[in-house]
Symmetry: C2
Subunit: 188 residues, 2 copies
DNA sequence: CCTACCGATCGGTAGG
DNA sequence: CCTACCGATCGGTAGG
């Protein structure tokens, strides 16, 4: 891991606890036992950290979505794959996911707008998958936004409680969440 | 509404968009067309705003919980009431709820610890209600934390998409969410 | 409710 | 990677 990646990892951990604005370059430097000025040999500025982190994850989610949309799986299988991919991205990037989920609003333009449009693309993708699954195409149009956000919120909540070293394995996690969510919406 | 309440309302709206740390006393003053120094005639400091907001909502949730726990409703009805109360508190305080949900980590001690213990109390209360409902007492002990947080996250997501003036009414919202969540967990 | 101001800290730069 | 430093802004106070 190079110096730049070390700075990112240190920053993300601090920002998870103190927020993006509440984490100073001196906090980050101190966490790496160097001076704040030295950070600028590896990154252009504080915003680099937030921007790179947010889009690295956003790209992973969008890549996953596009792979699913292009595949020839059956709709219900697509939904399973979507959930599984989403969970795996989160679990594989717990600290980064927290900053991605809760600090993106501090992105400056044009990143802010770009991020929002990627999030929208992702939500529309899940909506597409849900609509193609005929086992629940009987709920009203106005409910889709709610269902999509509810499902994503439940999945994203993993970041709040899941311990990668705990007793629950990732596969088990995917299975339980798939059951809860698919049962929940199929009879709407 | 007195001056203090106006300051709170202005602050909460700003903090929803820019975060607690990212919102300065000068931002708040500017939003009220006064000088920053004048704010201190009505509040002791910036922390007042966050602390009061977080505990006002925390108390509403805990009060709702205690009323339900003391009632003699059947377990499944308690669950319905819990969901309905939770949704109504959120919908009745959309801006405040956002700050409550995402800015509490900037609380200083002893408020920070107090807040966490209240959140824990609320989660344990929902766990109690779920356990007493025999229609889903068949899922494993280790799943409760996950189920509790998933349910709360889905409910809290309302704050992200619900428009109080939109086509979906609060009662309808409670009904749909009850269905999704109770269907989702009953077959676990 | 204001003017005037405080020490502390911010992100970042110059220069080595 | 450091020392030394910049202008801007922070939360907050004194005094009226």
């Amino acid at each position: 891991m190079n110096r730049r990646e070390q700075i990112f990892q240190t920053s993300i951990k601090l920002m998870k606890n103190k927020g993006y604005v509440g984490t100073s370059m001196r906090d980050i430097a101190s966490g790496m036992s160097i001076e704040a000025a030295s950070l600028y040999n590896h990154i252009k500025g504080k915003e680099d950290i937030l921007t790179d982190n947010c889009f690295e994850l956003a790209n992973k989610f969008i890549d996953s979505l596009n792979t699913i949309l292009k595949s020839d799986e059956k709709p219900l299988d697509k939904l399973h794959t979507f959930i599984s991919n989403h969970v795996n991205i989160l679990v594989g990037n717990m600290d980064a996911a927290h900053v991605f989920l809760y600090e993106w609003k501090h992105l400056s333009e044009p990143h802010y707008s770009k991020f929002l449009s990627m999030r929208d693309e992702y939500e529309q993708g899940l909506r597409r998958i849900l609509k193609d699954d005929e086992s629940n195409n009987n709920f009203e149009n106005s409910s889709y936004k709610m269902v999509v956000i509810s499902v994503l919120s439940s999945l994203n909540a993993i970041e709040q409680w899941y311990k990668p070293d705990g007793e629950i394995k990732v596969e088990e996690l995917c299975n339980i969440l798939s059951k809860i969510l698919i049962n929940g919406i199929k009879e709407l």
